[in-house]
Assembly symmetry: D3
Homo-oligomer: 286 residues x 6
């Protein structure tokens, strides 16, 4: 069966997990565990959801345990993209007790943060349920965690917008203020970017939208429009280009936005302001 | 006048900002801005608060602009730890328009995230206002951002707990489960760690507390206790060691915790689940 | 006046130049120059073209001199994208003689390699002169130099294809062999990638082309087709999607390919097999 | 049997391959393959020569596959330094299809580039066949690939000149222009460098050669001399020091140079301007 | 049985060993061994103490062999903290002869340096034998080796002082000169640092000591005091805080310092000026 | 005037100093100084020798101050290679007091360590005064500090042996044990290494020496020979190749070794076991 989300390449994830472990181990390692527990004590444990939600970051969390000690065995019970109930185990670990406890915090910091993003995304996906609109994230991400956070959005059923300044053109209000109008901006961009690059322009009213459609873009970002305006915009677009809505959309307002017929709703806060999903490590001594 | 919080060394902050910029610039840089704006166009702009809060991350944000182009001039209007009203400017920038726009997102991602933490902390500091209790963070931080996030807690008026596994001993429930009782655990640790290392133990009831006080620790973490239990615990401690409360404390329950007389209240979510403080860049063309 | 090509962000270029310098300086630095020349000797010099061509890499070369010693002054006489005649100076340097000579080889290695790519590209651009086809590069690049080499292609008047595996979908013969036919492959991809990602498929005959057009793609890669087949293909496409030709195209055959009416001709060897453009450093003592 | 060339330490090669993979995987990995192929699909494939030549870079190419997924099995059929005919397989791979295709381009980029250098070198080695002269490379290498490229020259039967500015003294024309004459330059260097460092000086005529021989060097670089001049120079040297010829030597002129009796002929273009050796990956589905 | 010292996390040690190997391998690897020995030659060897002492660094040394070639098998005969007699083996290695010899120097450089520190520490520990004083190191460490050197001090039976500027407060003479007196300095610090941070102040006479005890600190550093002064100071302290002596203490004077009753004697030279412990690799051919 | 030793390129030194500062600053920076001193307090100070010796590492020490705060001004009073008397200042610093104190320890750790090496070297240079023998170091260096330590040897008047395994051939006893005799070993090496690489062989008696001279080497390492044997060896060599003595040579025995007429005496302990030269920072408040 196809999993809800494809895993990220380990090559991308490992450097982040490794440096997070080094950040926590500091210059002397886990002085509490080393002082308390004999080197040959083993333990089993389970990372358990303390609340219901959607999981992301299991590979990163598993890597945290294994990087501290390759002899720790980790079994992933719920892979990324699956939902859990409160009390359900997500990962099982077995290995040297010192290593398990030394890696615990980094593993959980990654798993809780990414599962928080997946859960916030999944909430919005559910909220727009009957409508075809997809939920997208933005470049409002935590510094140096973008690949993982965008993956968490996919785990929650969302889709990704641009990954950086270099893989798509998005002409926004500040650009328009400096570059002249929509038409002029699109013309300049068209002559400059490669054939594999899509171009999207942010518009705030129907005049701008009309200019954008005439100038030729791949997508329009309908920013801060009311549902009524969105509906008009969608009609004007007529399926010719992708219609994306954005601008302070909440779980309460999102259904109205989706009902307006847009293809995509982008929401920064599913990454930048999602509370963590609470998970904890339950340990059993051997 | 002493600022609300001391700045972090630039040597610590720069690598994070630099790699965040590289993450965003990717392999081709800001293709939108480069296509749209002439290289010699300059602009001024202001990073403005869209809602009231407490600021943190101004040095990191300023560095983002300067690293993209050292000729961008940044003036910090509100240094870290100061509060702002909605609409107030925090940073002023002036320089090549391409550089200002290329750095915008990374600068804001840092500033909004860290100001969100500072604001969440400041809210709790205000909530415990009349009581001597201080607000502390935990090791539940975003991977590879711990130094900045702990700084943001200080900017919000809080204090920092351990920075890693290596700079203090904290014996928690999982340790106790594996190491035997409180007394045994403290004895083992005392013989193993250096004289500059403080030792704290998590206790869940008065019997454990009493064992900890007899065994000799520098601080006790009173975990998941009711205000009534906390009050008893504080009385038992009698000022001999630091009394820290923790465990799912919210802005609604914190005053009752503080009223119990603890010295410190540690709250993980001021870092891991704080929503961003909304700030944006307003640009003027030259 | 708009330059022929926009510069890359220094943040992307500097780490490459810095590590190239460290590779050359080794563990003891430039022992020849240090032994021979007094520390306070200064010199001027010019990087001069030994043959005609198109220049790329001037910023990287200038950075090589400045990173060895920030007091070296470098003036770029021909910025990237301009052509030079044999004997024409491209850069002027002035500064401590030791630093100028220590940086010489790295500066030239970058400049000659990138100018070689720009010149090879420019040759093809000229060869297709009367036709609208643009010259594109591929992912056949030198490891860890992709950003610079793609910039050199732009300097030569070409355009860039994908920068990596992550910023566009290109379904090639090996993919089709494993994934089933064109239709099935496109359908799977369409459901999986974000709205800012373009999809291109490689086709080898008109049946595959027809399947691709029906399934819906943004571009088709017409691989190893004769000019006659290309002409048929272009007609079948009818301007609906981008038509890209590829497959062992040389400077001798490219005009026939362009004459077939394709939008784009991608040629790996302008990067992977371009001979350097010969440039050298002429020094004057002070 | 002794292989034609000794392998490089994996510790030197791995960082280059790893960063080349990260350059290609970007922030989202191989989106084409992930979308198209199920995670559990396996494949076998062969990297096959499309033209005859000398192989180099097999260890690096094998590493590319294994770093993407350690479960990919790679068998090297032709180790570095062996020649192949068109159609001959060089590497066999077997493993998860996604991993094999994700690593393909980086593996080929390394293998084709390095085999191109080995083949260009081998051509010259063959060209000077009857003469004792050896073919040497220079410091005109691709930034950050010097160790691999110098290894490729050895694979082609050539020898290496200096690896950097620090492991040998080479006094060139620019040095002489600034430092005074040959005699003065050699004297200064002799007093400054350690006993394990060889000293070579570039000379352009017999007067300079005579000065160099009197001053005492380990090798002389006879730059841009005609075969007749070279013959005279070799006679003057009389076997006392190493005689190296250089300066715009091509496959057509090299035999005459070798016939003049020099010990060594250094040629920059076997690295900097060698076209790739064309190899491709042929895949079979399971 | 509990080992004399707990091992450091491999995650902390590996980057240091890896870069030390790269420093030694340079750009061409071990040219001597590669030229001399066939790739399939194996050998066994033992790292043997040439003089008696206390061992530290065995994990790092073992890692050096394994990082060069994972097929080298290393058995640690004496783990860190154990003493050896002259002639006793510490490590046994078995594997490809090239790898064993290529790693030899880095392995020994680490092992000899760290064992030198452990041995110097153990000498002082023995010297203060009958007294309760412990031997502590300082921040006078070799750049970028602090974690390993502090571990070596523990291996020798010593304890560690601060690991950096951030994990404890130590107010020294230069601070007092700039900050005003002892009382003022302690007051400022007390209001600024977290509850897990200990505060120590350096005092030079009994008046400063008395001020420090009144102001409240966790430890006092009695700097450059005679044994008689130390005795008085210890009496004044009366066990309330940790009493640490420092200042040009040698193996000849340390017993008198310990006899004065201090808790701790800190000695920088056990790290910064300890001669190596001489160990060598004895090889047997297969 | 020519300085006693040429400076290392800043590009090589800076990464070491930077990571040493980060090692000391940890995750929170200098908490003592930040708490005690106002941000705008400035100070002047001098790094002063506490004992006589030869200085090395001034550039690294100066860089430590400047990297913490570019506004710190550092004047180097005694550059590397000069001798100082006790009490003499070496560096003068002026700048923000916080930065000066935060950088102090790293600056001194570098300067004291490297000056210790320079001083130990200079002692031996003086000891062999009337003889032509030069003092050389070995590859017994501190991991990751080799370039700086070898520079310190030069500052003390010594010369450098190989910088790594790749820039010279040194056939030692372990190699000979595995590779067969001296003659066989030299023959194999001669056929394998480039023309810029010198070859040295370790010999333990006159028979081995004779074999080495016949086989042809650039230098011989006369290991663990008595002065009488050395004298015989030097006579046998007759100035044809470099004669290097090594093996447990001390300041007391070195003059006898030099008197035997060797060209070079290599001594590992001038790097690996040199005690630091004591220097300290004297601060004046503004």
């Amino acid at each position: 069966m196809k999993p809800p989300v494809e895993p990220l390449p380990t090559l991308l994830v490992e450097p982040i997990v490794r440096s997070a472990l080094l950040e926590d181990l500091g210059r002397a390692g886990d002085i509490t565990t080393t002082a308390l527990l004999p080197a040959d004590m083993r333990c089993t444990g389970a990372v358990v959801a303390r609340e219901p939600g959607t999981i992301a970051g299991t590979e990163a969390a598993a890597l945290a345990f294994r990087l501290v000690d390759p002899s720790v065995r980790v079994a992933i019970g719920r892979t990324d993209g699956f939902t859990v109930a409160a009390g359900e185990p997500v990962l099982h670990v077995e290995g040297p007790a010192r290593a398990v406890l030394a890696a615990e915090r980094v593993a959980l910091n990654l798993l809780c943060h990414l599962s928080g993003i997946a859960s916030a995304t999944a909430n919005l996906v559910r909220a727009v349920g009957p409508y075809p609109a997809r939920i997208a994230c933005t470049r409002k991400t935590t510094p140096n965690l973008r690949a993982l956070e965008k993956h968490a959005v996919r785990a929650g059923g969302g889709v990704n917008h641009r990954f950086g300044l270099d893989d798509g053109v998005l002409i926004k209000d500040n650009h328009l203020a400096l570059a002249g109008g929509v038409r002029e901006a699109i013309a300049r961009v068209r002559g400059a970017v490669g054939h594999m690059v899509k171009v999207e322009v942010e518009v705030e009213d129907l005049a701008q939208l009309s200019a954008a459609l005439e100038a030729g873009v791949d997508a329009v970002l309908l920013d801060n429009m009311t549902p009524a305006m969105l509906r008009e915009a969608v009609q004007a677009i007529g399926g010719r280009v992708i219609a994306e809505a954005s601008g302070r959309i909440t779980v309460d307002t999102i259904q109205a936005v989706a009902a307006a017929g847009v293809d995509l709703i982008s929401v920064g806060w599913i990454i930048h302001s999602a509370p963590i999903l609470d998970l904890g490590l339950d340990i059993d001594a051997h």
